[in-house]
C-alpha cells in the first residue's frame, strides 16, 4: 500500500473505481475490493504493530471502519490516501487500546504455565451427549441462536449478523432456546434418575 510505482498507482485507481461502484450499491464490486485490499492492509498494519497476533483484528477493524465511512470517499480523489488514513487511525486505536490494557493489567510471570492449565474454552470443549441431544431437539432457529452465543462464544451482535436477524430477534430466539433447554435437560435428568 505504500508502494509508489506505476503498478501500485494503477491498482489504487482500480480500487477507486470499485469503491465508486460500491457506493452505488454494487455488492460484487465491494466484495472484490475488500478481498483485494486485505493483503495490502495486512502488510501496512503488520509493519506498524509489534503484536502480530493483534494484526488480524486491526485489519478487520479497518474493514469495519471503511464500511462505516464509505460515503466519505470522493471518486475524484485518489483511493490510496483515503484507505491509508483509515488504516492509520485503526492502528492508533489499537496502540491506545493496548496502552490502556497495559495500564490496567499486569503480566503474570508464569503466564505460559497457567495458560496450559486453564480450563479449555467452551468453543473448544466437546459438548456432553445430553446437551447435544437437547440442542438437537430445539427448533432450528433457537438452536442456532444458542449455538452461536454459548457454544461458538460470539457476541450477540456478531451472532445476529451471522444469523441474518436483528439483535433483538436473536436475543428472543436465544431466550426461548434457554427456556426450552432447561425444560428438556430437567426432563432428561428426571428420566435418567428414574432408570
Amino acid at each position: 500500500m505504500s508502494e509508489q510505482g506505476g503498478g501500485a498507482r494503477d491498482r489504487e485507481l482500480a480500487w477507486g473505481v470499485l469503491m465508486a461502484s460500491a457506493q452505488d450499491g454494487d455488492a460484487a464490486a465491494y466484495e472484490a475490493l475488500l478481498h483485494e485490499i486485505v493483503p495490502a492492509l495486512r502488510f501496512f498494519v503488520g509493519a506498524r504493530l509489534r503484536e502480530t497476533s493483534a494484526a488480524e483484528d486491526v485489519v478487520q477493524n479497518v474493514l469495519l471502519s471503511l464500511h462505516r465511512a464509505r460515503h466519505t470517499y470522493q471518486p475524484s480523489r485518489p483511493f490510496g490516501p483515503w484507505l491509508r488514513a483509515i488504516a492509520r487511525n485503526a492502528v492508533s486505536d489499537a496502540f491506545r487500546a493496548s496502552g490502556r490494557r497495559a495500564e490496567r493489567e499486569t503480566a503474570l510471570p508464569d503466564a505460559d504455565r497457567i495458560a496450559d492449565l486453564r480450563e479449555p474454552s467452551r468453543a473448544d470443549a466437546p459438548l456432553s451427549a445430553r446437551m447435544t441431544r437437547a440442542l438437537l431437539d430445539l427448533p432450528p432457529a433457537q438452536r442456532e441462536a444458542v449455538e452461536l452465543i454459548h457454544v461458538r462464544e460470539l457476541s450477540v451482535a456478531e451472532a445476529a449478523a451471522r444469523a441474518g436477524v436483528s439483535v433483538s430477534a436473536l436475543k428472543v430466539r436465544a431466550h426461548r432456546g434457554y427456556k426450552a433447554l432447561r425444560v428438556l435437560l430437567g426432563g432428561r435428568e428426571r428420566d435418567d434418575s428414574a432408570h
Partner: protein, 225 residues
C-alpha cells in the same frame, strides 16, 4: 485470508445498499463562505441603514490587522474543520491548523498593542460592558447558522476529533462574521476593541460549539473512521 476475515467481508458485502456521497470539500467551503458573506453583507447593510452617522468615523478607525488576523483564523479553522472530517485529507487539516495557530500571533500582538494604548479604567464610558456584549453578540448570533451547517456536515462525515472539528467550525464562522463588527463599530475604546472584537472568535467559538453539539450528536449516523 483467515476464515473470520473472509466471513466479515462476506457479511459487509451482503445487503450492501447505495450511500449518498459527502459533498466535495470545496463545495462545502464555498457554501460556508457564501453564507457568511451574505450574513456579513446583511449586517453591514442594516448598520448602514439604521446607524449611518456612525459609519464614517468607524471606517476611519478600522484596524486592518484585526481584519487580516480574523480572515486568516477563519480560513485556517475552516480548512482544519473540513480536512479533519474526511479520511485522507490530513494535509489540508494540518495546513489549516498551522494557519489558524499562526493567526493567533497577530491577535496577541494587536491585543497587547491595544491594551498598552488603553488609558485605563477612568476612560471607560458608562455602559461600556453592554457595548462589548452587543458587539460580541452581533457576531455570535449570525454565526450560529454557518456553525450549524458545518456541524451538520461533520455529523455526516467521519471526524476523528469531533470536539476540535466543532470548535474549528465555530471559530471559522465567527472569524468571518466579526469582520462587519470591526468595520462599523463606532466605539473608540481600546478595551472594547479587544474584548468585543479581537477575542470574539476565540471566546465565542466555545459557546457556538456547545450550541452545535446537540445537532452534531443527534444527526450523526456513523462512527468515526
Amino acid at each position: 485470508m483467515t476464515p473470520r476475515t473472509e466471513e466479515l467481508i462476506h457479511e459487509l458485502a451482503r445487503g450492501l445498499h447505495p450511500v449518498r456521497r459527502l459533498p466535495g470539500l470545496g463545495r462545502v467551503a464555498a457554501s460556508v463562505v457564501g453564507l457568511c458573506s451574505s450574513l456579513a453583507a446583511a449586517h453591514l447593510g442594516f448598520t448602514f441603514a439604521t446607524k449611518s452617522p456612525w459609519i464614517k468615523p468607524a471606517f476611519a478607525s478600522v484596524d486592518a490587522w484585526t481584519i487580516a488576523a480574523h480572515a486568516l483564523l477563519a480560513a485556517g479553522a475552516l480548512a482544519f474543520a473540513l480536512g479533519a472530517c474526511v479520511p485522507g485529507r490530513g494535509r489540508l487539516a494540518r495546513t489549516g491548523m498551522l494557519a489558524a495557530t499562526a493567526a493567533l500571533v497577530p491577535v496577541v500582538w494587536i491585543g497587547c498593542a491595544r491594551l498598552a494604548a488603553w488609558p485605563g479604567p477612568a476612560a471607560l464610558a458608562p455602559g461600556w460592558l453592554g457595548s462589548v456584549f452587543a458587539c460580541s453578540l452581533g457576531a455570535i448570533v449570525p454565526a450560529v447558522l454557518p456553525a450549524l451547517l458545518l456541524a451538520h456536515f461533520a455529523s455526516r462525515a467521519a471526524p476523528r476529533h469531533s470536539a476540535l472539528v466543532l470548535l474549528a467550525g465555530a471559530a471559522a464562522s465567527l472569524g468571518l462574521l466579526t469582520l462587519p463588527g470591526v468595520l462599523c463599530c463606532a466605539y473608540p475604546d481600546e478595551l472594547h476593541h479587544v474584548l468585543g472584537h479581537l477575542l470574539t472568535p476565540a471566546l465565542g467559538a466555545l459557546i457556538l460549539a456547545l450550541v452545535a453539539l446537540p445537532l452534531f450528536l443527534t444527526s450523526r449516523p456513523s462512527q468515526q473512521a
